[in-house]
Every structure is written in C-alpha cells, then in structure tokens.
C-alpha cells in the first residue's frame, strides 16, 4: 500500500496500516489454520495440524507486517 514511501499525511497512512496489519494477522491464521485443518481431516488427527497451521500463519503474518509495513 503505502509501504516505503514518505508521506505527507501520516494519519491516513496510520489508519490504512492498521487495517492492513489486522488483515494480515487474521488472514495468516485463517489461511494456514484452514490448511492445517484439512490435514487434520485427511490424516484423522485431533487438531494438532490446525494448531501448527495457525502458528505458521501468525509467523508469516508478522513477517509480512515487519517487511511491508515496518520502518
């Protein structure tokens, strides 16, 4: 979005960055949690892959936030 560019309007950027960060966190957990859940269903495990998936998703989301929205 507004990553890396100096901006004249920090407030607008702040709000956008906030929504982006929340989007990444939710999206990361949802996508990898779902992929983990599919593995659980397939292999008949009782949720361990979902848990790992959520953690992988959070890790990816935080990586993206630092990379794209960080200073």
């Amino acid at each position: 979005m507004t990553d890396g560019q100096p901006s004249k309007h920090p407030e607008a950027d702040g709000a956008n960055m906030g929504w982006n960060a929340v989007g990444y966190l939710l999206g990361g957990m949802a996508v990898w949690g779902f992929i983990g859940w599919l593995f659980d269903q397939w292999l008949g495990w009782d949720g361990i892959a979902t848990g790992i998936g959520v953690i992988v998703g959070m890790f990816g989301a935080i990586y993206l936030i630092v990379r794209k929205l960080g200073v």
Binding site: M1, G23, L26, G27, G28, A30, V31, G60
Partner: protein, 256 residues
C-alpha cells in the same frame, strides 16, 4: 398496560432487518424505496445547490461544495494523490449515499438503515472490489498486477507461507471486511436503539413501579444512542470511502 408489552416486537431479533414485501414478492420492500429515496435526495440536492453556481457561493452551494471538497481534498488527494482526483466524483457519491442511507436509521418513520441488511453493504463492497482490481489490471496487466499483490519481497522458501496470506488478505478479506464493517455497525446500532426504545415500553408495561421507573433510564439511553448513531453514520461512510481510496491507490501504485 400489560397487554401492551405482548404486542411489542420483543426481544429484537435478526428478523427485524428482513422487512416484509410491499409489492412484487421479495423484490420491493421498505429498503428498496429507501434506496430510491436516497438516490433521489442526493441527485436533487446537488442539482439544486449547483444550479446557478456563483463565485461567492450561497449557503447551499457552500454546503455542497464543502462536502465535495472534503472528499476531494481530504480523502482522494490525501490517499491516492494528484492522479486520484478523477475518482473524487465516485468517492463523493459513495460517501453521500452511505451517509444518507445510514441516517435513515434514525429518521422517524424510516427508522432502519438499508445498510443494516448485509445485501446493501455487500453490493457497495463488490463495486469497490471490481473498481480497484480493474484499475490495477488495466494499469499493470494481469500478470504483473498479480505478481505485485501476491509475491512480496522475501526469500524464496518464505514465499510458500506468504503467498497464500497475501492472496487471502488482498482478494478475500478486503471486500469481506469492507462490507462487514459497515453492515455490523449499522445492524448493531439498529439493535441497540430497538433494545432501549422497545425495552423502555416493555419496562413501562410491567406492574412494578421500580421496573417502570427504570424505563426512564432506558428512554434516556435511546436518545443518547440516537445522537451517537449520527457520528457512527458519518464515520462509517468516511471509513468506507477512505478504504476504497486506499485500495485504488494500492492498485495504481508503482512497483517498489
């Protein structure tokens, strides 16, 4: 007094925003008429105020100009930049439409906002979604647009984790949150007003002086929340316009 409470729609439920049909099956409801009314109000308002534009504006012209100026300067130029000015008319229309339809939630007799029904925010979100994707694809071409949005600057092994997240947050979560934020705000506002007004009457209909006196508090809350809804109505329209502008800006941005 006791039978009064039995006739009231209590407790409020989701069914309260699924309004009965007026004509043509489910195709014409109070919401349909309200959307027509909103469109008519906005068209008439801007036609009247801009009919004879003067260099020294009249009060009406000043009001219309400051709405347009606010979206053009405060949203479009701030978020998209100078090249974004051509989107100012769309964003102003969007902003005005959402403000007017939101305000219907607190206008006597109308008393419910079309945006409290998920269908209306969903269509507005789809419009924004199609707009920013179309602009991005037109400017960069499909391949490059997808590459810009899906492949972040990161080492190759990380991409396996990151690409699905980027896809989900850009192409699934964006329209979803855009629609849900507006819908949930207006739906919750409608429910709150119902709880405190209808609840006030229910309390008044009881046989106990103590619970009857609490209804005063309930009505007071209803009035305070009605004023609060004015802020929510404008704020949510603003947020919707800002986010649409921000998505357009993201789609038009050059590769970094």
């Amino acid at each position: 007094m006791a039978f009064l409470a039995e006739e009231l729609p209590w407790p409020p439920s989701v069914e309260d925003v699924f309004l009965p049909s007026i004509a043509a099956g489910a195709w014409v409801t109070k919401f349909t008429l309200m959307v027509w009314l909103a469109v008519a109000l906005i068209i008439v308002f801007f036609l009247v105020t801009y009919r004879a534009p003067a260099l020294v504006p009249t009060k009406k012209q000043w009001f219309a100009e400051s709405i347009y100026g606010f979206i053009r300067e405060g949203v479009t130029k701030d978020v998209i930049g100078r090249e974004g000015i051509k989107f100012a008319p769309y964003l102003t229309t969007l902003f005005c439409f959402i403000v007017v339809t939101n305000m219907f939630g607190i206008i006597p007799l109308l008393q419910v906002s079309p945006n409290a029904h998920i269908a209306f925010p969903a269509v507005l979100a789809v419009l924004s979604y199609v707009l920013f994707n179309y602009l991005g694809i037109r400017k960069h071409g499909l391949g490059k647009y997808l590459k810009m949005n899906l492949i972040p600057d990161a080492p190759k092994p990380m991409l396996i984790i990151l690409v699905p997240i980027e896809f989900f947050s850009t192409f699934v979560l964006r329209p979803l949150t855009l629609a849900l934020r507006l819908f949930a705000n207006m739906f919750a506002g409608h429910m709150l007003l119902l709880v405190f007004t209808v609840g006030g009457f229910v309390l008044l209909g009881t046989n106990n002086i103590l619970t009857q006196s609490v209804s005063l508090l309930s009505f007071a809350m209803a009035i305070i929340l009605t004023l609060f809804e004015v802020i929510v109505a404008i704020l949510q329209a603003y947020v919707f316009a800002v986010l649409t502008a921000s998505y357009v800006q993201g789609a038009l941005a050059d590769e970094h």
